[in-house]
Symmetry: C2
Subunit: 128 residues, 2 copies
């Protein structure tokens, strides 16, 4: 019991992939990059994800230093998830992935679909 603290891969690329490749992580990061988000907000923004899984993914990203979890001792307990410096460093990387994904979608077959453009320039750093 009590997580043996899963070791990350030694090779940098694999390490990076391991850390971002969760089913919902890119999307979560997309929102969190725009500013601190509460759990309930994230839930509303991604209606398809289960709460359990959402928290799971957040926990992992926290453990990997991508996001920071802050609890505010208020009346209705409030919790905010914020991107760390390390996490923000993923913006260009995710952007690159996104762009290549576009190229791939076009080259491969169907239309570009939802231009999701994961990362918007670091402006308006608080809630959308």
């Amino acid at each position: 019991m009590a997580e043996p603290i899963k070791r990350l891969p030694k090779l940098p690329v694999e390490r990076a992939l391991k850390v971002i490749a969760g089913r919902w992580k890119p999307v979560i990061l997309y929102y969190v990059f725009c500013g601190p988000k509460r759990l309930s907000e994230l839930k509303r923004m991604m209606p398809e994800i289960t709460q359990k899984v959402l928290i799971q993914q957040l926990r992992e990203m926290e453990e990997h230093g991508l996001v920071r979890r802050e609890v505010f001792a208020e009346v209705p307990a409030r919790v905010e998830y914020t991107a760390t410096e390390l996490g923000l460093g993923l913006e260009p990387v995710l952007l690159a992935l996104c762009q290549w994904g576009q190229r791939h979608a076009e080259a491969q077959n169907e239309i570009a679909d939802i231009a999701d453009c994961i990362v918007r320039p670091r402006k308006a750093s608080f809630a959308a």
Copy 2:
């Protein structure tokens, strides 16, 4: 039955991740980027990977248009795997992932480990 031809995700980032995130894909790409490689070569270069899995990964990457498989009708049958244009477009992306992985390794805990530097500049485009 008969592969429903697994749909790739609609969102570009997820699509890209899905395509690269195989257990051995980054490493395989690393070698293939340096020039066409035979199956036996790849096996020798990555002693840890199973032949079945190696072929599996190659098949998927072929299906996704990252590598091209060429059979040469020679006496001892020869097969070469080469990176496609689309595949080569991943070099900068993998490089970005690699670099961020380094930062992460340092920031997180242990030393930089094996500086794996997945992608080397497009030179010496044939066998190492």
